[in-house]
């Protein structure tokens, strides 16, 4: 779908911060509140804006730390539906947070989150490996998250170091 320059501007503003009031977006793109609201409605209806989640650093919350693993999966594609059918079987599990079809040495890349290592081990051995067409799995546990979705986690060293007034 082709979008207008104004629609692209609205998207890019929301992608940076979706909590910014519609009134302010209207000022930023030199448009009316009504027009911006209807642009946003359209983008939501078209599922171009998929959702507005908050990016949370759970590792900072005691008792809420998650274990994250990335699993490389080799599968045999199925005639007629290719990888889509087996992908759907996998992404329906709520513990799967992302799933991509990849080029290269394996086919599917899964990100999975769980409370404990054994929870993830159980998912791999009992659920994932037993799916027809899954040939092999390689599980990598994530040790530390430095950057996610373009956002750097942890200490922010990019604070304002400028002088308070300058010519």
């Amino acid at each position: 779908m082709r979008l207008s320059g104004e629609e692209l501007e609205v998207l890019s503003i929301l992608e940076e911060n979706h909590k910014i009031p519609v009134e302010d977006i209207a000022l930023m793109v030199n448009s009316s509140v009504e027009d911006v609201s209807s642009i946003i409605k359209k983008l939501e209806d078209e599922k171009i804006i998929v959702s507005y989640p908050a990016l949370i650093d759970w590792s900072k919350v005691a008792g809420e730390e998650n274990i994250v693993a990335m699993i490389d999966v080799k599968v045999t594609p199925k005639r007629g539906v290719g990888f889509d059918e087996v992908a759907e079987r996998i992404y329906r599990f709520p513990e799967v947070t992302s799933l991509y079809l990849m080029s290269g040495a394996y086919d599917l890349s899964i990100t999975i989150e769980g409370k404990t290592m054994s929870e993830i081990a159980r998912f791999v051995s009992e659920k994932l490996s037993t799916i027809d067409n899954v040939i092999s799995t390689t599980t990598h546990f994530m040790l530390k998250k430095y950057k996610h979705d373009g956002v750097i986690f942890g200490e922010n060293n990019d604070r304002d170091r400028r002088m308070v007034v300058s010519p």
Binding site: S12, M28, V165, P167
Partner: protein, 403 residues
């Protein structure tokens, strides 16, 4: 016996006025929790790949001098950039000089072209250093005031009125600091006719060239007949967010640059070697970052112009840079009073327009090179400040009618 130290100082230096911004800086720096709209530099940190190139340069040991006008490789990138971006052609070998910031390029220019008593027209409101640099080079700065009625755009008539037999050059800065005013091709062409008629030179400070929001940028050197009369000043500070690197450059006809290189030889020798490698990377691979910063400034400009107008501070829409220059005349205060009271009452720092010349009186410079969150908060505070002024005025009126 030694006399008072004052006695040994140069009369010219003693007579230089300290920057009008300095006093205000001291006050603002002493207060905690200030939201500053007073900063004359980008809020972006230099793109990482530029920083990384400079780090690599240090690691590889590029710690020697470079040629006086800078690394040839960098000068080649600069001429390619000027050609591609503004359609002007310069020879990288002998027409370009890399300097310690655009300010040094301006200083070099004045020193190279001015004889004692030569006059240089400074278009006000103007950046604080132009006039003092003319004075230091032995020339005489002549202020030319522009008018808010046409958004502070310079007109040929304003120049004509200031020209004397001693006028040597005009310093043009478009987009302008502090007004953000941008002169388009048509307007520059009209100015060029006056320049031609009176046989003048133009020092064109194009440091904000990458930050224009409504029109494509026109370099003064690209105006017909002006190439030979123009010293084009530009740099990396604003467009590439590299203020602290102190890297600028100038491009000019060879007879000018030849003489300027001599001055450079005897003063700073060359710009820092490792930083020049960063600049090469900037021009080669990071233009998309410039574009993304420009988009971000544009949104903030739209936001702040409309917000200030909604608050009741009359503000034209500037075509470039990252400043707006709203009028505070409706408050009846001087710009210095306004800035000071706003700072004390609401902890928002702006720069009084009077710091940029007489015609800046009645205005304040607000820089929108700060985060949207800060801008939103600043607008609320300014609104509260304006409301409190109105309340005060109403009360005064009530009292006077009651009496």
């Amino acid at each position: 016996m030694m006399k008072e130290h004052q006695h040994y100082l140069s009369e010219m230096v003693k007579e230089l006025k300290p920057s009008g911004i300095r006093k205000f800086f001291d006050l603002a720096a002493s207060i905690k929790g200030v939201i500053s709209l007073g900063v004359g530099e980008p809020d972006f940190i230099t793109p990482w790949s530029i920083r990384e190139a400079a780090i690599l340069s240090l690691e590889e040991g590029y710690t020697s001098y470079t040629a006086n006008p800078g690394l040839l490789e960098l000068r080649q990138e600069i001429t390619a950039y000027l050609n591609k971006r503004f359609g002007v052609e310069y020879n990288p070998v002998d027409q370009v000089i890399v300097t310690a910031g655009a300010s040094q390029a301006i200083d070099l220019t004045f020193r190279a072209i001015l004889n004692p008593g030569d006059e240089v027209l400074i278009i006000e409101p103007a950046f604080v250093s132009y006039a003092p640099l003319v004075t230091l080079a032995g020339g005489k700065p002549i202020p030319v005031s522009t008018h808010p009625s046409n958004g502070f755009k310079l007109t040929p008539k304003q120049i004509e009125n200031a020209i004397t037999t001693k006028t040597k050059a005009i310093l043009l800065c478009s987009p302008n600091n502090p007004t953000g005013t941008y002169l388009n091709k048509e307007e520059l062409t009209k100015i060029a006719a006056v320049v031609e008629k009176h046989d003048l030179l133009v020092i064109s400070d194009e440091i904000y060239a990458e930050l224009t929001y409504d029109d494509e940028y026109t370099s003064f050197a690209s105006i017909q007949g002006m190439y030979d009369r123009t010293i084009l000043i530009n740099g990396f500070s604003k467009g590439f967010a590299m203020t602290g690197w102190r890297l600028g450059f100038l491009a000019a006809p060879k007879p000018f640059t030849e003489q300027m290189v001599k001055i450079l030889q005897y003063t700073t020798m060359c710009a820092p070697h490792m930083l020049q490698h960063g600049a090469i990377e900037a021009l080669r691979n990071t233009y998309h970052e410039v574009e993304s910063m420009r988009r971000s400034y544009r949104r903030r400009r739209n936001f702040i112009v409309q917000s200030l107008n909604n608050i009741g501070l009359d503000c034209h829409t500037p075509g470039g840079a990252f400043y707006v220059f709203p009028s505070i005349k409706s408050t009846g205060m001087t710009s210095e009073q306004f800035a000071e009271e706003l700072l004390l009452a609401e902890k928002v720092a702006v720069v009084p327009g009077s710091a940029f010349g007489e015609s800046g009186e009645g205005y304040i410079r607000c820089s929108y090179a700060t985060s949207m969150e800060q801008l939103q908060e600043a607008m609320q505070r300014i609104k509260r400040f304006m409301d409190s002024l109105e309340l005060k005025q109403n009360r005064v009126q009530e009292l006077s009618t009651n009496n």
